[in-house]
């Protein structure tokens, strides 16, 4: 139990997926203008990463390892994730209109979110068991949610500030993320 907790804290805060591993930067910089959209995106990411972790772990354990084709990992994982995202989108559209309305637009973007593939691959390279892999997947996506929602909150305030001309747009967002990354270094003391 203690080990699982350490994995969770490590994945969510200490090795934050965006701020220290630089995975999923495209949505982090692109969809963080408003807190609402950022929250929608993080909901979709949590959803997809959780399912993708389960599916890729099962495929790796019961198909790739028995047939000794581990070198196919990259190809198989990315195809599975792409198919999965499509499937989730169709499923939500049919059975849960409310969820589809709030997450739908973000789902196609997630296929190219490297955080999903990154979690799947790092679970395998770290040799995690099923429960540990699941915990690390969920914690990683929660870490993504924390980072993007904080950034969106700050960006809503930045709108009203007087920023030097050259720093408007992307540079100020990058600077803000850099300061957040420094703040997240403080969590290193937790483990």
């Amino acid at each position: 139990m203690k080990e699982l907790f350490l994995v969770a804290v490590g994945a969510a805060l200490v090795n934050n997926v965006v701020l220290s591993q630089f995975l999923g930067l495209c949505p982090f910089l692109g969809v963080s203008k408003k807190v609402n959209t950022a929250a929608g995106m993080s909901g979709a990411v949590i959803f997809v990463i959780t399912i993708a972790t389960i599916v890729t772990w099962l495929i790796n354990e019961f198909i790739l390892i028995p047939f000794n084709v581990m070198y196919m990992q990259t190809i198989v994982f990315i195809l599975v994730i792409a198919a999965l995202v499509q499937f989730v989108e169709m499923f939500l559209k049919k059975f849960s209109q409310g969820l589809y309305q709030s997450l739908g637009v973000f789902l196609p973007l997630i296929t190219t979110n490297c955080a999903v593939l990154g979690v799947a691959i790092s679970n395998v390279t770290n040799g995690y068991g099923f429960v540990t892999a699941l915990v690390s997947g969920i914690a990683t996506s929660i870490g993504f949610a924390i980072a993007i929602i904080i950034l969106a909150g700050i960006r809503e305030k930045i709108e009203y500030n007087d920023i030097p001309e050259s720093f408007q747009g992307t540079p100020i967002v990058l600077l803000t993320s850099g300061l957040m990354a420094i703040a997240f270094y403080g969590f290193a003391g937790l483990i």
């Binding site: 701020l19 220290s20 591993q21 630089f22 995975l23 999923g24 930067l25 495209c26 949505p27 910089l29 692109g30 969809v31 070198y71 196919m72 990992q73 990259t74 190809i75 990315i78 195809l79 792409a82 973007l109 296929t111 190219t112 979110n113 490297c114 593939l117 990154g118 691959i121 790092s122 390279t125 001309e165 050259s166 720093f167 408007q168 747009g169 992307t170 540079p171 100020i172 990058l174 600077l175 993320s177 850099g178 300061l179 990354a181 420094i182 270094y185």
Partner: protein
């Protein structure tokens, strides 16, 4: 300018993937702790980009339109796996330094972006040069960021000591936050240059008699494009 040279210019300067298009941010920030790693990542991506561009261009009449994206992903993933094996066998140090970011080249938006916007519409030869140009542009961007981070954070460039021993390295530049800071400053410098160019340009275009007598001075000063469009 002839066509292949035009593709190279387009990739390295005009549509530089790192500074102009802001694509492929994950490797850009993650592996540029030193100039060598940045250049290594850039060249690895270049090789994959050239191969996948050529392959997709060859197959462009065979791949049905509706399944083109999954087909591109399979092609790219195949080349990534091949290149990963080659790195493991021949350059293990680079393989260890880049780690998980090698398989993640599959989801690098530059490669799929070029496949979709160029290779699927043009011949093999030009697609190859497009890949070389874009790849070199990416390499230049990564190496530049790597040089700054290594210089400030370690006092070296390409592992050669350039700053005197009295210089105390600012370690934060080789850690995660430094990546954000360096890229922010490089983009800001580029914005500055672009703004100045645009002001000169619009002044030349609109006011023949000089700006002092121009009625639209208020507009053209206020019309400088600042914020860049953001990628998803």
């Amino acid at each position: 300018m002839n066509k292949p040279a035009e593709r190279l210019y387009n990739g390295i300067i005009k549509e530089n993937p790192t500074f102009v298009l802001m694509l492929g941010m994950c490797p850009t920030l993650a592996v540029t702790t030193s100039a060598v790693n940045g250049a290594g990542m850039g060249l690895t991506t270049t090789v994959i980009l050239v191969l996948s561009n050529m392959m997709i261009s060859m197959l462009r009449k065979v791949i049905p339109d509706r399944v083109r994206i999954p087909a591109y992903i399979v092609v790219v993933a195949t080349f990534v796996t091949l290149v990963q094996f080659l790195l493991q066998a021949y350059i293990p140090t680079l393989n260890d330094a880049l780690g998980i970011y090698i398989p993640l080249i599959v989801v690098n938006c530059i490669i799929l972006g070029r496949a979709e916007s160029y290779a699927s519409k043009n011949g093999v030869f030009l697609s190859m040069f497009d890949g070389i140009g874009m790849g070199l542009g990416f390499t230049v961007g990564l190496t530049l960021i790597g040089v700054f981070r290594e210089l400030l954070g370690n006092g070296t460039i390409f592992n050669i000591k350039v700053l005197p021993d009295s210089y105390e390295p600012i370690v934060i530049f080789v850690l995660a936050p430094g990546a954000f800071f360096v890229l922010a400053f490089l983009v800001a410098v580029q914005n500055k240059v672009k703004n100045r160019k645009q002001t000169e340009h619009s002044v030349m275009a609109t006011c023949d008699t000089g700006c002092a007598g121009c009625a639209s001075i208020g507009i053209c000063n206020g019309h400088i494009e600042t914020g860049k469009q953001e990628e998803e």
